[in-house]
Every structure is written in structure tokens, then in C-alpha cells.
Amino acid sequence: MNQISSEQWKQLGRDSFDARLIAIIRRNHPDQAAKMDFASVVGGFHRQAAKAQRYGLTDEHSAATYVYTAWLMGDEFDTRIPAIAQILNDRRMRAVDKAKALGNFSRLVFRTLSAPASRGAA
């Protein structure tokens, strides 16, 4: 009977995580995705996923939200943006609330950048 080793199981998990996240990026950002080499991006995904776990984002939805936000904002978004750093370093906040705040922040940033001058961010 064939057996799957622990390392193979982890590799399957990483591949599944990457595949689903890349599919979402391709579906929603086709222009930017067309210009990128995802084979080289996967390593960045794994580094960001490891950072997400250090912030307490241990479930796959929260970790995927963190990796997606890093893809949008840049590698060091967790230390470069004070509001994000404050939220991620709060040990009392749940992972689901941190992920929700990351999603809201990304949305508001792009709303501000794409809005005309007459419309404020808040």
C-alpha cells in the first residue's frame, strides 16, 4: 500500500494553497497577473505565509489574506504602514478580525487612489 510521507503531505498543502491563491489573483487582476512570473512569486508566497503565522494568522483564510495583501502592497507592508503594524501586533485581536481589517484597508487604499478629488476616503 502506498504511503504519503509527512514532507509529501506538507508539499501537497503548499501546492494547494498556492494554486488557489494564484487562481484568485489571475481571476481578479488579469492585467497584472499576465505580466508576472508566478514560478518566482511562489517563494515569496511561502515567506509571507510564514510571517502571517508569526502574527497569529494560522488558519489558511487569514494567511491567504495576508499573502494577498502583501502581493498588493509590497513585501514590507506589515512594518511600513503604521495602522497595519498596530493591528497585526495586537495579541488580543483574533485572526479573523485581523484578516477582515487587512481586506478593508486594501479596499480603502484602492478606493482612495482611484477616486476623483471630490470623493474622500472617509
Binding site: D15, A19, N28, K35, D59, M73, R80, I87, R107, L113
Partner: protein, 362 residues
């Protein structure tokens, strides 16, 4: 927050920053500023997102209402033109005028139909305005919002990271399975197809379960210790005497009732004798004599009754058996002699009754 540099992982933010207006810098700095604590900042972000969604919905509704008003004005203008053409045709009363009138009526109907259709489209736009608020925003914002929704549907918030999403065969899962035949990362080979699962071997028959041994009798429960008597309740302290109620003030005297006005005198009844005499009743006519009753016809004679047949002789009754003689009664024992009765004392002589007085003569 300084304006972000192009991200190392992707380019959406770099593209948005390149097209942004200078006024957005201040708003981004406000957005990136920390709050009193992390929870307050997260709540502020949530509130701003909800406000933005509401503002977009209001804008979509306002645009739809403007389009509805414009369509209604066009319909009214077309109807007015049609009515004017019809009036002109009636005044000219010619064949060409009648044709023009028919065309005008048709145009008016078309204008009304277009107005009704415009109203329906406006109502539909109003209903979809709130739901389509995300799509009304910028392309990058809409893509981010949709990607956030996809993340919530594709990734579980209860599964730890690193667990592969195994396709489920329950047919109830809404999460689509990852197709291993399609490489997610260009340049990487596709995963080999999983081999078919072998059939499960038939399970051997389960041996019969041994009979359960009889349950032992339950041991008798030990007697419960006697419940100690409840100590007597202490006597309640005497209630302090209630203060005397203040004397009620004397009731004021009732005001005198005003004298009732005297009733007017009733008119005197006329005396009975003054009633007019009733006229004499006329004499009743004499009743006519009753006619003589006709004689009753003679009743026919009754037929003679047949003679009664003689009764048959009764058979002689058998003789009754002789009653056996009663045995002689045993002789009663002699009764003891009764004691002699004492002599009665002599009655005292009654006193002489006084003579009755003589009854006076009537």
C-alpha cells in the same frame, strides 16, 4: 505613510499610485495612521468601508432617478406633439390629415410604451444599485473587493495552513476541488492522476455476542442518618408600637340644601256627580221562537241473543289426604301461686262540694 513604492510581489498598487491624484496622498496618510488601539482602528476601517458602500449606492440611485425623470419628460413631449397633430388633423378634415392623425396616435402610443419601459428600467436599476455598488467603484477597488470575497470562499477559516484541500466526494461541498491536471504555476508539471481506489474487501460476519451475565443484586442502601431537628426559630422581636394616627379634622358641616320650590297645585277633579248621564240603552229585540225538533225515527229491534251452551260437568276432585293428628302437648308445669295482693287503703272521704249559686232567670 509615505506613498508606497511599487510592491515587490505585484503591481496593482504601483499602477494605482501612478494614476492617483495628488490629493490622495493626504487621505492615504490618514488611512495609514494608527488609532488609539488596534480594535479601534479595525472598527474605523470597517465603518469607512460601509460608508463608502452606502455612498456608492446613493450615487447609483441618484443617477437612475435622473434618467427616469429625463425619460418621463421625453414621453410627455412626444404625447403633447401627438395630441397637437391630432387636433390639427381634425380641423383640416382631409384624407392626408386623417393619415397624419393616425400616425400621430401611433407615435403617442409608442411614446407611452417607451416611458413605461424607462420606468421599469429605472426601478430595476434602483433595486440593483445597492448590490452593484462595488462594481461602480474603480476597477482596482472592485478587483480587490472581489478577491476578498473569493478568499473567503476558497480558504477555510478553521483549517490550519498547510493542509491540502482534498476533493470531497460528498457532493454537498460548495468549494470546488483543485484539478491536479491543470498546473497552477506555469512551467511546473501537472500532478499525476490519482489511482483509483481499490474495492473494499467484504467484511467477515461478526461472531455472535456472548450472553450477558445476570446483573448482581443491588446492595441495600445504608439507612440515611436521621435528619437533625430544625432548631426552633427565635421569637420575632416585638414590633414597635405604631405611632398614633393624627386625629382626622372635623368634617365641615354640609351646606344647607336650598328649599325646593313648591309644586303647583293640581287642578281639582270634577265631582263624579257632574258627569253626564249615559243615554238609555235601546231595548233588545225579542228572540224568535225555536222551531220544534223533528221526531226521532224508531230504533230497529235488536236481534235475539243465542242461548249460551251448557257448561261441561267438572270432574270430581280427589280426596285430600288426612291430616296426621297433632301430638299431644306436654303438660305445662304448674305455675307458682301468685302472692296475695295487699289490701287497698281506704279512700279518704271527699269534702262536701259547696252549693252552686242559683242561676238567675233570663
Amino acid at each position: 505613510m509615505s506613498l508606497p513604492t511599487p510592491p515587490a510581489l505585484g503591481g496593482p498598487l504601483a499602477d494605482a499610485v501612478a494614476a492617483a491624484e495628488p490629493a490622495a496622498t493626504q487621505q492615504l496618510q490618514q488611512l495609514a495612521a494608527p488609532a488609539a488601539d488596534a480594535a479601534a482602528k479595525a472598527a474605523a476601517l470597517q465603518s469607512q468601508v460601509e460608508d463608502a458602500a452606502g455612498e456608492q449606492a446613493r450615487q447609483a440611485i441618484a443617477e437612475a432617478q435622473g434618467q427616469a425623470a429625463q425619460a418621463s419628460q421625453q414621453a410627455q413631449a412626444a404625447q403633447a406633439a401627438a395630441e397637437q397633430a391630432a387636433a390639427q388633423a381634425q380641423s383640416e378634415a382631409s384624407t392626408e390629415a386623417q393619415q397624419a392623425q393616425a400616425a400621430a396616435g401611433q407615435a403617442a402610443q409608442q411614446a407611452q410604451a417607451q416611458a413605461a419601459q424607462a420606468q421599469q428600467e429605472v426601478a430595476k436599476a434602483q433595486a440593483q444599485a445597492a448590490a452593484a455598488a462595488d462594481q461602480a467603484a474603480g476597477a482596482a477597488e472592485a478587483a480587490t473587493a472581489n478577491a476578498t470575497k473569493d478568499l473567503a470562499s476558497e480558504f477555510s477559516s478553521t483549517t490550519p495552513i498547510g493542509v491540502p484541500a482534498v476533493p470531497c466526494a460528498c457532493t454537498y461541498c460548495i468549494r470546488p476541488a483543485v484539478d491536479p491536471a491543470i498546473p497552477a504555476i506555469p512551467g511546473t508539471p501537472a500532478l499525476p492522476a490519482l489511482p483509483a481506489m481499490p474495492d473494499m474487501p467484504a467484511m467477515p460476519a461478526m461472531p455472535a455476542m456472548p450472553a450477558m451475565p445476570a446483573m448482581p443484586a443491588m446492595p441495600a442502601l445504608p439507612a440515611l442518618p436521621a435528619t437533625p431537628e430544625t432548631p426552633a426559630l427565635p421569637a420575632l422581636p416585638a414590633m414597635p408600637a405604631m405611632p398614633a394616627m393624627p386625629a382626622m379634622p372635623a368634617m365641615p358641616p354640609m351646606p344647607a340644601m336650598p328649599a325646593a320650590p313648591a309644586m303647583p297645585a293640581m287642578p281639582a277633579m270634577p265631582p263624579t256627580d257632574s258627569l253626564p248621564a249615559l243615554p238609555a240603552l235601546p231595548a233588545m229585540p225579542a228572540l224568535p221562537d225555536l222551531p220544534a225538533r223533528p221526531a226521532m225515527p224508531a230504533m230497529p229491534a235488536m236481534p235475539a241473543m243465542p242461548a249460551m251452551p251448557a257448561l261441561p260437568a267438572q270432574p270430581a276432585l280427589p280426596a285430600l289426604p288426612a291430616t296426621p293428628a297433632l301430638p299431644a302437648m306436654p303438660a305445662l308445669p304448674a305455675m307458682p301461686a301468685m302472692p296475695a295482693m295487699p289490701a287497698m287503703p281506704a279512700m279518704p272521704a271527699a269534702p262536701a262540694t259547696p252549693a252552686m249559686p242559683a242561676v238567675p232567670a233570663f
